[in-house]
């Protein structure tokens, strides 16, 4: 059967030999030990060469894990954009119990795809609600297993970025903001930071008094965080202003990455003081 499939790859996309348009074909999904649906053979895409299993027989089946995007039309698709073809008798089970999952198979779950090296098809799909560490990340799946009708084309957008931060997923950065307040700041004043992420709540972040004219706050923010902020004395009538007393533009904080970030800010004037 596999040989037959491999021999007719060019039929993919047109009126099919299976009696109907292929886009309506559904994979055979075996949930747990029982086959629930009638098998619909899935043809192999022409761009995916058969793996050279004779030269390097794998002692164990390759396991690839990632976030699930879709299981549809004979494919399992991961959030990396990689699509693997499902074997007709693929078993879909919960990775923890080995039994049929007690939840809907939906995007956002995590999955391990176990691939048969000889066919390149996924023979088992193990699902979980949390990331699975015990498998090769799907991003490292060999091209021989990935299904894509078009040949990979380079993307100039993916050249080394000139963006200001490394990744939205980069680690937390310890951010210290030190603020020098104007000399007419009342001695018992508290100083806060209002941010756009808090709906400009005038008391969103409270700062520590460090000395007579300095306040500071230490916080942790993810790399890639980008927000606007202003200093206040706890209300919008006491927000900071330009030296002239005119409204000042909001400050912007961009966390570019790294371990620590120190910011020294000078507050020139408060809106409620002449």
């Amino acid at each position: 059967m596999i040989a037959l499939l491999l021999s007719v790859p060019l039929m993919w996309g047109g009126p099919s030999m299976w009696g109907g348009p292929l886009w309506s074909a559904r994979p055979t999904i075996k949930v747990g030990p029982t086959v629930l649906a009638a098998a619909t053979p899935i043809p192999q895409a022409s761009q995916t060469p058969p793996p050279d299993v004779a030269a390097t027989p794998a002692p164990t089946l390759p396991r690839y894990s990632g976030q699930l995007l879709d299981v549809e039309r004979g494919y399992v698709v991961f959030s990396t954009g990689d699509a693997l073809k499902l074997a007709p008798d693929v078993a879909i089970v919960d990775d923890d119990t080995g039994a049929a999952p007690g939840y809907a198979v939906e995007p956002g779950l995590y999955a391990i795809a176990i691939v048969a090296p000889d066919t390149g098809l996924v023979t088992s799909l193990r699902l979980a609600r949390t990331p699975r560490p015990n498998a090769t990340p799907i991003a490292e799946v060999p091209r021989s297993y990935v299904i894509a009708a078009s040949s990979p084309q380079p993307n100039p957008d993916l050249a080394p970025p000139k963006t200001r931060y490394t990744s939205k997923l980069s680690a937390a950065v310890q951010v210290t903001i030190n603020a020098l307040v104007p000399p007419d700041t009342p001695f018992d004043a508290d100083v806060y930071i209002a941010t756009d992420t808090s709906g400009w709540n005038a008391q969103a972040i409270k700062m520590q008094r460090v000395d007579g004219r300095h306040f500071r706050i230490v916080t942790e923010l993810q790399g890639g965080t980008d927000f606007h902020y202003l200093f206040t004395r706890g209300s919008w009538t006491s927000v900071e202003r330009e030296r002239s007393g005119l409204q000042r533009p909001a400050r912007e904080l961009v966390i570019e990455g790294g371990d620590v970030l120190d910011i020294a800010a000078t507050i020139y004037r408060w809106a409620d003081l002449p």
């Binding site: 993919w12 549809e72 956002g108 993307n155 957008d157 007419d184 330009e242 007393g245 909001a250």
Partner: protein
């Protein structure tokens, strides 16, 4: 040869411009993205809208995407749709596994499964000619993990402006991240980077729950359910409208409370001409009326300011018109204050490390019925003031020392002369990486020729302490100054401790010596106080602030009357 070069140049100019790797994010504008599904949820701490069950997303250009799940990342300006995806565009319909659109970069990624699994990239909104096989970012379709997070808002549809607001309908809001409200017909959540949406014209309430029921890219309307234990009717509701315009302009109107006869109508406005000239208006109207019926009383004021930045200083012209009664009945008194203030910027004092600031003002006050109960209808005032600040000096044992001094003298043509001084000296030390101690000695004085020949107005150009902070224009050092000469000496030891980003504690011990008279009473300053304040995270986005003071049995008062408790979003 020249012809060949010209031809080559022309061909190069005619060829399609390749997508560049250094393409900067573009302004996504305010076109709305419309999402509908069985469940549309907003997760505030992730700035993500997630839709499930029969998702339909209508893109700003009219294209429609359907799928099992959609997530809209407001920070990344990205939408991702996954699971049984169909994409309906003017150029055709497609079926696939995933769709992601990065609006700021005008890149839409699509994973078709028909006729075969593939990778397509649509550039610049062109749905007709996808770039097939083009490599995609590894996280183009990544879905945020929201399994253990409670949504802040839940509904079945949302209209989303990536930079300003999202409008949910209907909407169930989880108050304090815990208590869901009944389904409201609509709720507008504003997350604009424009700080003028934060301008607040509502005063006086210990509890405020806003319900934003209408909004756009440049406006927001909200009802506020409020509670104030000092009012006869403690619970009431108010209305507030925001409009923003230009680079810095705003107008805020409010009615507070709207549900009680005693009403306060507020208008705040601001705009700038260029970067050096600003115009501000602050008007308040106080009425006693049932609903919108003829008021039984009506008074108010309007204050207009024009600020002009100069070289190393700024000039402000400030006019205040008061209306003691706007009705045919009552005293038709309309006091008027017109003044100008000049404020210098902080300047270095030679190379000493000291900085100083100078300021002055001139104002004219007119009250046809006599100013401050006197017979004079017109009074002139002018003032001069200066601040001097030291740098921080390093003392022994890691102690930092700094000080500031302020002096101001105001002349009134009553006549009266008022001189105020403030001297602050601080010694500070970082005890541990998370603990700071600051010892402060503060001396404040006021000396006036007369304690009666003064007045208060909202206008600060007079050099007097404005209303409503002061009822007579003299400064307040803990209590209102009613004598010609007063001195307040304070010794404060304050400490702050921030062991983690989720907890802060601060405390202050204070001794106050106030002369000429400091005896226990409701309006006096306690001689000894101990205040504490703890701020701690209660949810992923909410902090609670709990404070209380101990007064050492000052006139029978041991503790401050109650705990101060405040919950705020971070």
């Amino acid at each position: 040869m020249k012809r060949a070069i010209a031809l080559a140049a022309a061909l190069a100019a005619m060829s399609p411009i390749p997508a560049r790797s250094d393409q900067a994010p573009q302004d996504v504008g305010h076109a709305l993205l419309r999402v509908s599904a069985g469940h549309v949820r907003y997760f505030a701490d992730q700035a993500v809208v997630q839709a499930r069950d029969g998702v339909e997303v209508r893109l700003p250009d009219g294209a429609v995407v359907r799928g099992d799940i959609a997530t809209v990342d407001l920070r990344l300006r990205r939408i991702a749709v996954a699971g049984h995806v169909t994409l309906h565009t003017a150029a055709g319909d497609y079926a696939g596994a995933g769709f992601a659109d990065f609006f700021a970069f005008r890149r839409a990624y699509f994973l078709p499964l028909v006729p075969a699994a593939d990778r397509w990239t649509f550039l610049n909104g062109d749905w007709s000619t996808p770039e097939k096989g083009r490599e995609m970012p590894g996280d183009a379709f990544a879905l945020p993990d929201l399994q253990n997070i409670q949504p802040y808002i839940e509904g079945t549809s949302a209209a989303i402006d990536f930079t300003t607001f999202a409008r949910f309908a209907p909407a169930t809001i989880r108050v304090f991240d815990a208590v869901p409200t009944p389904a409201l017909p609509v709720y507008v959540y504003n997350y604009s980077a424009n700080q003028n949406f934060g301008v607040n014209s509502l005063s006086g309430a210990s509890f405020d729950a806003p319900y934003a029921f209408a909004g756009s890219a440049d406006s927001l309307d909200a009802l506020h359910l409020r509670y104030d234990q000092t009012r006869p009717v403690k619970a009431f509701w108010s209305f507030e409208h925001h409009s923003v315009f230009g680079d810095a302009g705003y107008a805020v109107f409010s009615l507070n409370p709207a549900s009680e006869p005693t009403k306060q109508w507020n208008l705040l406005g601001y705009d700038q001409v260029g970067t050096r000239t600003g115009f501000a208006v602050n008007a308040q109207l106080f009425t006693v009326q049932s609903g919108l019926a003829q008021p039984a009383s009506s008074n108010g004021f309007a204050d207009v300011q024009l600020t002009q930045a100069l070289a190393q200083s700024a000039l402000r012209v400030d006019a205040t018109q008061s209306y003691d009664s706007l009705l045919a009945t009552g005293e038709p008194n309309h006091p008027f204050v017109l003044g100008s203030q000049w404020a210098g910027y902080d300047q270095p004092l030679f190379r000493s490390g000291f900085t100083y600031r100078l300021q002055s003002g001139l104002a004219h006050i007119h009250d046809a019925f006599g100013i401050s109960g006197q017979t004079l209808p017109d009074v002139w005032s002018h003032y001069l003031g200066a601040y001097l600040a030291t740098p921080q000096y390093q003392g022994p044992a890691g102690i930092g020392l700094d000080a500031t001094a302020q002096i101001q003298r105001t002349w009134l043509s009553f006549p009266n002369t008022i001189t105020t001084t403030t001297l602050t000296a601080s010694a500070s030390r970082q005890v541990t990486p998370h603990i700071y101690l600051v010892a402060t000695q503060l001396t404040q004085t006021v000396s006036a020729t007369s304690a009666a020949l003064t007045f208060a107005s909202p206008n600060t150009a007079t050099g007097l302490t404005p209303a409503p902070q002061s009822l007579n224009g003299l400064p307040i050092y803990g209590i209102a100054t009613v004598v010609p000469d007063a001195v307040s000496r304070n010794y404060i030891l304050s400490g702050s401790w921030q062991p983690s980003t989720a907890f802060q504690f601060s405390a202050a011990a204070q001794q106050t010596n106030y002369s000429p008279v400091q005896v226990p009473g409701l309006t006096s300053v306690p001689r000894y106080q101990l205040n504490g304040d703890a701020r701690f995270r209660i949810t992923r986005t909410l902090f609670a602030d709990v404070s209380r003071g101990y007064l050492f049995n000052w006139g029978g008062r041991v503790w401050t009357p109650q705990f101060g408790i405040q919950v705020s979003a971070q």
